[in-house]
């Protein structure tokens, strides 16, 4: 059932009032005027804003380093376990090529994440994972969503296959959603929308040990 417009906007208002990032979904554009107005009111409610000292230092570091050193590829971000900031960063460079579904490169098949000198990392007991529900785990620098199916598990990268943005598990829809653009992925890493022709999420190797522990191949 489609989300009612008042609920759609309340979800966004509620996030903004909690200081959270704007997480928009497919269909939110129908209320674009109300959403941009809500963002402005949220800003107004918090008064004039200045950069935090930590962010100012980060910008100073960027300005004093060479651009190439700060240019992160999606894969580098995935291995380094970086999230949305890297997405925005890459977005600044590639501009129009950010739009999914254009260009053959975006349709290339995804390969598994096989870190150099990778090691199996214990991420919890099998009993801690609910059947059919995605759970975000970290295996060193590798982030993954682990899915339990009975006595076995599978895992996909927690990074969107398009931008280096960390996905989140939306229990209601049963999908992994991207905060950077209106795309989502099924538990097996396939994009859920035919209109966004993205590659599958990278597979992450996961297994269940004889002792009933879940392990993920990380760093």
């Amino acid at each position: 059932m489609p989300e009612k417009p008042e609920n759609r906007v309340e979800r966004i208002v509620s996030d903004l009032l909690r200081g959270r990032r704007l997480r928009l979904r497919a269909g939110d554009a129908e209320e674009k005027e109300a959403i941009t107005a809500a963002a402005r009111f949220a800003a107004a409610s918090q008064g004039p804003q200045r950069m935090s000292p930590a962010f100012r230092r980060r910008l100073a570091d960027i300005l004093e380093s060479t651009p190439r050193e700060t240019w992160l590829t999606r894969r580098a971000a995935m291995i380094a376990g970086l999230g949305v900031a890297a997405g925005a960063l890459a977005g600044g460079f590639v501009g129009r090529s950010l739009e999914p579904g254009r260009g053959a490169a975006l349709r290339a098949p995804s390969s598994p994440v096989l870190p150099e000198n990778g090691q199996w990392t214990d991420v919890g007991a099998l009993a801690d994972f609910r059947d059919g529900s995605g759970k975000l785990v970290k295996a060193g620098a590798v982030g993954a969503f682990v899915f339990r199916r009975g006595e076995s598990v599978s895992a996909v990268s927690s990074m969107c296959s398009h931008l280096p943005c960390e996905l989140w598990w939306e229990g209601k829809s049963g999908l992994l959603e991207c905060p950077c653009h209106p795309v989502s992925f099924t538990a097996d890493g396939k994009p859920s929308s035919a209109s966004y022709t993205l590659p599958d999420l990278n597979e992450v190797k996961a297994r269940v040990t004889d002792a009933g522990r879940v392990e993920v191949l990380g760093t």
Partner: protein, 164 residues
């Protein structure tokens, strides 16, 4: 011979200008995480220009042009629509001074153009931080009705903003 500013001095000038950019962006996205990401994008795009050690006045226009472009791309990507379909008016004047309370002043102007009920729901929710339940109690209404009123008030606020 013209003496070029040191890297640190140029960085300081750039950071002071980026403070204005950050406030400008924050006033439009309403949250710190997105404002930081977008300001960082502006900084990176502007690095070649900033490194020339140009005076603040010369780089401000460039930074704000970049900020508008980055904001346009942000809304376009998040909403999944083309920039031509964006409602947001990004062709705004470049601020001349340090971070001001532009967002609050603008919000007050917009609120003044709304009907009493719409103004009240937005004031309670955004300026006083009331929950939906608290707004409903204050306005002797229901949570469901307040949600609908909030949506209509925001739509009306967007229209007042456009017409202003």
């Amino acid at each position: 011979m013209v003496e070029l500013p040191s890297a640190t001095r140029a960085t300081d000038i750039a950071l002071d200008e980026l403070e204005l950019v950050y406030a400008f962006i924050y006033a439009r996205v309403g949250n710190r995480a997105d404002a930081e990401d977008l300001t960082q994008q502006v900084a990176m795009k502007a690095i070649p220009r900033l490194r020339q050690g140009a005076p603040a006045s010369a780089i401000r226009g460039y930074l704000f042009a970049t900020a508008r472009s980055v904001l346009g791309a942000f809304w376009s990507m998040r909403l999944g629509i083309s920039q031509a379909e964006l409602h947001e008016d990004l062709a705004l004047a470049v601020p001349q001074g340090p971070a001001s309370d532009e967002a609050a002043e603008r919000a007050q102007r917009i609120l003044a153009g709304l009907s009493d009920n719409y103004r009240r729901v937005l004031e309670l929710r955004f300026l006083h931080g009331y929950s939906l339940k608290e707004v409903a109690a204050e306005m002797r209404s229901t949570v469901g009705a307040v949600k609908v009123m909030q949506l209509r008030a925001l739509r009306a606020a967007a229209k007042v903003d456009t017409d202003a």
